[in-house]
């Protein structure tokens, strides 16, 4: 049957998750941060879909779950960008480090 084992997919998911995470936590541009978060969600999707095929009880559920995650991700991005735009209007910056007036 399949020549690519489950673990390979999971490893890919893990790697992408880590990349996304690193990006989300180090990148300065808020847009990139948001995109990185999307990448993390996508990595989770890979897991879900992979489990859907190779899991304990293969079923369509995993794919459905992934679908919902995508919908959520889309909504989140939309809101994120909208907030960014509102912020940009007031602050004129997209640099995440400059968004630090609330502190201590």
């Amino acid at each position: 049957m399949s020549s690519v084992p489950l673990s390979a997919y999971l490893a890919l998911g893990l790697i992408l998750f880590c990349i996304g995470l690193y990006g989300a936590l180090t990148k300065r541009n808020i847009i990139i941060v948001l995109i990185s978060i999307e990448l993390m969600l996508n990595a989770a999707n890979i897991n879900l879909v992979a489990f859907s095929k190779f899991g304990v009880m293969p079923s369509i559920t995993g794919q459905i779950f992934a679908l919902f995650v995508m919908a959520v991700a889309a909504a989140e991005v939309a809101v994120g960008v909208a907030i960014l735009i509102a912020l940009y209007r007031n602050r004129n910056t997209v640099n995440i480090d400059e968004v630090n007036t609330l502190k201590h």
Binding site: F17, G20, L21, M40, L48, F65, E76, R89, L102, K103
Partner: protein
């Protein structure tokens, strides 16, 4: 599935959700079609009526056994009812605060949205409390989160509000990713998203690798969700977001959203992870094994929340840290995993709801009046408005856990739960108590301002809006009532929810 099957389900158990959904629709349509000149506060009262309607319908649903629709994607067990009760009461009070919210630059244009986004968030929270399916829970969580992101940023001309929303959305996104990543493993190792099926599956688990992965998944889910309840290590966003967000939103985040987070944590933890054996059938559950980690996080949360609060000058920030600390106390409940877990959690969340919302109502009143969020604005409150000052004192005393208030009974519950188990969590309890004493410093700091310090200007007269008046009144009453006669609540719990025995059915 045809329509007939669809209609054969007992949709009536979803009445509260439908009511909220209906009101959301109604409000959005009304907002769209109503003339600009019409005061949108009307919508607020409408929304409040919706919440109260949902509350009534929820109460009427009480006392039945667990009912489920569509393979547990909706599930109404006593746990759900009990906690939804809190969510609805909290939301109703928040709504009252929101109706009286008058920020400087005006909110009139978005007031309609403001209200129904609250309702959307509430709907998400309600779904989080009454579903037995991971997907539904996740969607509920996201509905709550995304609505909250928008709410936090709804004062879009206010740079603090923007920043707060930005911080919220970025950190929320990360937390979502972490949670979903953990969930994907849980799904993968059980092959289902139905919590009870998962429980049935994992209970026979013997492969240590699977258990290990589930352990990792546990941590991811737990840390991801700790964002929602603002506990360590995912607590740092809270002060900034609370400070920047509009006060009603802060109140909402600190009470309703937090409650929902705990509901979700408890449900996932208790159903899935409590049933995972560590070494084959019948051995110690995984949850017990990681108990110490939770306890550690609880301790860290309490310490951070209470200690950093000492330095705060901004009242909203102060309450943010205070609510971190309170979340730490609640985490102690989770960490102790006693037989009293549900009762304790429910009672404390209830008490917390009243005392914190009451406090926020007063905070909103004062910050709005003076235009500053500095604690010093509370100076001389006793002179200017003695009743307000005494009400605030009641809330603060309750938060500090002084007898005679609901907060004390709640803490008593927590201590008992933590000590009644074997081995007892002496260290955790000690830390909790020690940090409580630390909290006296800042809580009583506010008291000192209100009662001891002279007011900067005695001119300011407080006009108490009806909404806030009701909130404060209800909260003072409830805080004292449940402090003096807690059995009203506890008997209610015992009498109507049958020890949450249907939780695992």
């Amino acid at each position: 599935m045809d329509l007939e099957t669809l209609l054969s389900f007992k949709w009536s158990i979803m009445t509260p959700e439908f009511i909220i959904l209906g009101v959301i629709t109604l409000l959005s349509l009304l907002d769209l079609f109503m003339a600009k000149s019409v005061n949108r506060k009307l919508l607020g009262w409408l929304g409040l009526a919706g919440i109260l309607g949902a509350l009534i319908s929820l109460l009427s649903l009480m006392g039945n056994g667990p009912e489920t629709i569509l393979y547990d994607t909706f599930r109404l067990d006593s746990f759900a009812i009990a906690f939804k009760l809190l969510l609805l009461i909290g939301a109703a009070l928040v709504f009252l605060i929101a109706i009286s919210y008058e920020p400087k630059e005006g909110l009139n244009e978005y007031r309609g949205e403001f209200y129904y986004l609250f309702l959307a968030a509430l709907l998400g929270a309600m779904m989080m409390s009454s579903s037995g399916d991971l997907i539904t829970l996740f969607i509920g969580l996201e509905l709550l989160s995304i609505s909250s992101y928008i709410l936090a940023g709804i004062r879009k001309k206010h740079s603090g509000s923007n920043e707060s929303a930005m911080k919220y959305v970025v950190n929320g996104g990360i937390s979502t990713s972490i949670t979903i990543f953990g969930m994907s493993y849980v799904y993968g190792l059980t092959g289902t998203t139905n919590l009870l099926d998962m429980a049935r599956h994992v209970i026979t688990l013997a492969d240590s690798q699977h258990i290990y992965l589930l352990g990792l998944a546990f941590f991811m889910i737990f840390v991801g969700l700790s964002f929602k309840v603002a506990t360590a290590p995912f607590h740092m966003w809270a002060p900034d977001v609370y400070q920047g967000a509009p006060t009603p939103v802060t109140a909402f985040l600190s009470v309703v959203s937090k409650t929902a987070g705990f509901i979700l944590i408890v449900r996932i933890l208790m159903v899935i992870f409590y049933n995972i054996p560590t070494e084959g059938l019948g051995s110690m559950p995984l949850l017990i094994k990681v108990q110490d980690y939770i306890a550690f996080l609880a301790a860290a949360t309490m310490i951070i929340g209470n200690v950093v609060a000492l330095r705060q000058k901004n009242i909203k920030r102060l309450f943010a840290y205070s609510s971190i600390a309170q979340a730490g106390y609640l985490l102690v409940v989770v960490a102790s995993m006693s037989a009293f877990l549900f009762d304790t959690l429910w009672f404390y969340l209830g008490a917390y709801l009243f005392m914190n919302l009451g406090a926020f109502a007063i905070i909103q009143l004062i910050t709005q009046k003076t235009g500053s969020e500095d604690i010093a604005e509370f100076a001389g409150l006793y002179r200017k408005a003695p009743i307000l000052a005494i009400a605030m004192a009641v809330f603060i005393l309750s938060l500090a856990g002084i007898p005679g208030t609901a907060g004390f009974i709640g803490k008593l519950n927590i201590f008992m739960g933590a000590l009644v188990v074997e081995p007892a969590h002496y260290v955790l309890v000690s830390i909790m108590i020690a940090t409580t004493v630390v909290s006296y410093f800042y809580y009583f700091g506010v008291m000192v301002q209100m009662f001891f310090r002279p007011a900067a200007n005695d001119e300011v007269k407080f006009k108490l809006p009806a909404g806030l008046g009701v909130v404060i009144g209800v909260c003072v009453f409830a805080t004292i009532l449940f402090g003096v006669a807690p059995n009203i609540a506890l008997d209610f719990l015992q009498g109507n929810f049958n020890q949450f025995s249907d939780f695992f059915q």
